[in-house]
């Protein structure tokens, strides 16, 4: 079954890049512009994994994680945080918020795909 990815990022550029990389890896990738839209999309069509930005208008990445983890269903879907921050305390903060993992921007195509495979159990 094709892995469904939901990418949430306010940057059109990053959204397109993620979508391309996911598409190349054979995954389906839905997109959302900000946290509010992302959470709505998540519940409309629950994905196998969420990739979210942290700094976004309307609702940030932590808000997205809280909304998904606090939801009644699909609350344990892996959520990967896409961030430019590599500082350990920020990773810890993401983990405390409930992130499954993180990918540091600028991301390496192979690395992001391998992380997605890793948390979804998808095999190449």
């Amino acid at each position: 079954m094709t892995i469904k990815v939901l990418a949430i990022d306010d940057s059109r550029t990053i959204r397109s890049l993620v979508q391309k990389v996911m598409g190349d890896a054979g995954f389906d990738c839905a997109l959302a512009d900000d946290g509010v839209q992302g959470v709505a999309r998540f519940h409309e069509d629950p994905p196998d994994v969420v990739i979210t930005d942290i700094n976004m208008p309307n609702m940030d990445g932590y808000g997205v994680i809280a909304a998904i983890r606090g939801g009644a269903i699909h609350r344990n879907v892996p959520i990967l945080v896409l961030t430019t921050e590599s500082a350990p305390h920020l990773k810890a903060k993401a983990r405390e918020a409930g992130a499954t993992g993180w990918i540091v921007k600028p991301f390496d195509d192979a690395a992001i795909v391998s992380v997605v495979r890793r948390v979804t159990g998808a095999r190449a």
Partner: protein, 716 residues
């Protein structure tokens, strides 16, 4: 275009928008009318540029954006108060960021010499000592990929490598965060030969089972060639979410690889069931309040989102196709209207009403389609505040920019092509228009000069004015320079308006020393050419001691034009209404011969040259054709007023502009063509070019000026 390249283009397009919102936010901060969300938006703009730039390995851009973002983060966190000095640094940094984006877009790899200076200024804001450049870069690129590249490592045949004993006991949080021990172990198995033994000793009876307490644990044996760090990396995301120990075995324990891996998979399958259920129960109670909170957040988010309206991004080609089709529709509509009119039906006939409805509908559709291409001048105006800042800095003047009517919309092409002329005029206004602060104080003015930039819609045109509150034009000096440069005869007597118009002559520059600003080899003539190319015109007005005002009027759209339909030597032609002042049918006594072939007409005591359009375009009238007596008085850019001789004036109507270039090349005096209601093709004339054509052949270009003064007149 490759996908990568199209995403790259998208990045620059997006950066453009982000830079705009950055400038907008900083302007709000400057005016003091900002809130936390303003600062957040400013931060996000820089942050997003950095994120995208990183994806395309634009290192210079990333490094600068990173430092810029650090400062904004401090501001955002209220750890750094904003004062005039910091705002100035932020604005300049935004300008510099725009430069770096532009350089990256042009694939300009060279290092920008100013970057170091701006980085230093940003460091000052951070209150830190300026670090050496290398350190900056290191810090920025320190975020090497933190994930193990599993593809490189591959499943290892771990016979020569180390072996590890790993004990792993997941906490509930591990499941809550979306992890799956089976997947972790599968990842581990990719590193080498692995056996996992579940430790069920802590597993209570089903009755006493509490999913909130860690009870399942595994002891894993891993034989791998990979470094210990690679093993630890597998658990990177679950650090703190489990009890974990990784111990390197002292003696290697050769193992039957295949069998052990199989058993690992078996374990993985076995543990899958509990994983799905474990987190559900303890979270149920806690889950409710969290859900309520997040809903509230969602609502708040929605409320805040009243601002931007939903938009649709459409390929420009599609819009242009639509515009072309609408042009055809308008032509088709006028053809049908004309046919119906020729039937001489009763005015209340059904078909007449329907045709009128059709006309109104076609007009509505046309306006709606034109509106698609319309864009507010705001981004253009915002860029000008930077020009004012830079111009003021390099000339030692103080200036501020005040804008009005930023919301006025103009055709996209107009906005794009207006950037250069506007930049030039703004620079001119600061450089030549404003006085020095001392000079202003001496004149009893505010030492800070003001440049007003406004846009407004007026009767089917967009009027853009650039006004300064400076000293006004020094007409004596202008005339002196023009004479020195042989642009006017030494004895010519010019009116104020004519002197002002000299500024638009090619090669004119009033700066006594060429400043590095306005003296870039571009004169106001270039400005005027650019505006004329858009179907617009520039006018100038100045009051000594109070300032100078340039007015640019532009058509709202480049696709339709209000024109006067005339006939010239049997040809139907269209003259743009905007150029026409009035239509005259003079008596014979009002027309006079000058020399052998030129004629002039006196209009209200003013002598105006007459130009035969037919002759100008190389048409000849039949020998017995009556002498045409219909004149269109037009205002031209270079030649003042001229009277164009045409045979007949039909009517005034809106015509769709069709480019000529592909079929005809450039025809002097003709700017475009159109298709009239009866299917006839008509040329659209350019009165300026016709007037220039005539003058080019005349010996003295300033004959007109002298005539206007009513002097040295030879009337035949």
């Amino acid at each position: 275009m490759s996908v990568q390249n199209s995403i790259r283009d998208m990045f620059f397009e997006e950066s453009e928008e982000l830079l705009e919102s950055l400038a907008e936010g900083l302007a709000l901060m400057h005016s003091g009318s900002h809130n936390d969300e303003t600062v957040n938006a400013v931060f996000r703009a820089v942050h997003s540029i950095k994120g995208g730039a990183g994806a395309f390995k634009l290192s210079a851009l990333v490094a600068f954006a990173h430092r810029f973002e650090n400062v904004l983060d401090e501001v955002r966190g209220h750890r750094l108060g904003i004062d005039a000095e910091i705002l100035r640094t932020l604005q300049r940094s935004a300008d510099h960021l725009a430069d770096l984006v532009e350089a990256a877009r042009n694939r300009d790899e060279g290092e920008n010499p100013q970057t170091a200076e701006f980085l230093a200024a940003l460091n000052v804001c951070l209150g830190s000592t300026p670090e050496p450049g290398a350190a900056d870069v290191d810090e920025t690129f320190g975020f090497a990929a933190i994930t193990v590249d599993l593809d490189d490592l591959g499943p290892a045949e771990a016979t020569e490598g180390q072996s590890y004993t790993i004990t792993f006991c997941p906490h509930p949080g591990l499941y809550i965060n979306g992890h799956d021990p089976a997947l972790l172990m599968a990842t581990l198995a990719e590193l080498g030969a692995m056996t996992a033994t579940p430790d069920l000793s802590k597993l209570p009876d089903l009755a006493a089972f509490d999913a909130g307490k860690p009870s399942l644990a595994w002891t894993i044996q891993l034989a791998t060639e990979a470094e210990e760090s690679a093993v630890r990396d597998v658990f990177e995301f679950v650090e703190g979410l489990c009890d974990l120990s990784i111990v390197q075995n002292t003696a290697t324990q050769p193992a039957d690889t295949e069998e052990k891996v199989e058993s690992a998979v078996a374990v993985a399958i076995k543990v899958e069931a509990p994983i799905a259920e474990v987190p559900l129960q303890p979270e149920e109670a806690k889950g409710q309040p969290v859900l309520a909170k997040s809903d509230a957040e969602v609502d708040a988010g929605n409320a805040e989102r009243s601002g931007p309206k939903p938009t649709l991004r459409v390929d420009l080609d599609r819009v242009d196709r639509l515009i072309n089709a609408v042009g055809e529709l308008i032509i088709n509509q006028s053809m049908i209207a004309q046919r119906v009119q020729e039937l001489h039906l009763a005015t209340d006939a059904d078909v007449v009403n329907h045709v009128e409805d059709y006309r109104l509908l076609a007009r509505d559709i046309q306006e709606a389609v034109m509106a698609i291409r319309a864009q507010p001048v705001k981004p253009l105006f915002q860029r000008m505040s930077r020009i004012v800042r830079e111009a003021a800095d390099s000339t030692g003047k103080s200036a501020r920019l005040v804008t009005y009517g930023e919301g006025s919309e103009v055709d996209k092409t107009v906005v794009e092509r207006l950037a250069d002329p506007l930049t030039h005029m703004i620079r001119n206004a600061v450089d030549h228009g404003l006085e020095t602060p001392e000079g202003r104080i001496a004149a009893g003015k505010d030492p800070v000069g003001t440049i007003y930039l406004s846009a407004a819609h007026r009767s089917g045109a967009v009027i853009i004015t650039i006004r300064d509150d400076g000293a006004g034009l020094n007409r004596r000096k202008i005339l002196e320079i023009a004479r020195k440069k042989n642009l006017v005869p030494a004895d010519a007597e010019l009116s104020d308006a004519e002197i002002d118009a000299l500024l638009f002559l090619p090669g004119f520059s009033t700066a006594s020393t060429i400043s590095n600003l306005s003296g870039r080899g571009v004169g106001l003539d270039v400005v005027r050419n650019a505006v004329t190319a858009l179907g617009g015109r520039v006018a100038i007005a100045s009051t000594v001691g109070q300032g100078t005002e340039f007015t640019i009027s532009l058509p709202l759209t480049l696709a339709v034009l209000d024109g006067m339909v005339v006939s010239v030597a049997g040809q139907v032609m269209v003259i743009p209404i905007t150029a026409i002042l009035e239509t005259i049918r003079p008596g014979l006594d009002e027309m006079h011969m000058v020399g052998t072939s030129d004629r002039i007409i006196s209009v209200r005591g003013k002598f105006i040259p007459m130009i035969d359009v037919a002759r100008g375009l190389g048409f000849t009238r039949p020998p017995n054709h009556p002498e045409p007596r219909t004149l269109l008085l037009v205002e031209t850019e270079n030649q003042g007023q001229c009277a164009l001789i045409v045979d007949r004036v039909f009517d005034q109507r809106q015509v769709v502009i069709k480019g000529l270039d592909t079929n005809y090349g450039a025809v002097p005096g003709v700017s475009a063509a159109t298709v009239l209601g009866d299917g006839q093709i008509a040329l659209i004339l350019d009165p300026d070019a016709i007037a220039n054509n005539r003058v080019l052949s005349a010996a003295n270009p300033w004959a007109g000026a002298k005539l206007n003064e009513g002097k040295s007149l030879a009337v035949a």
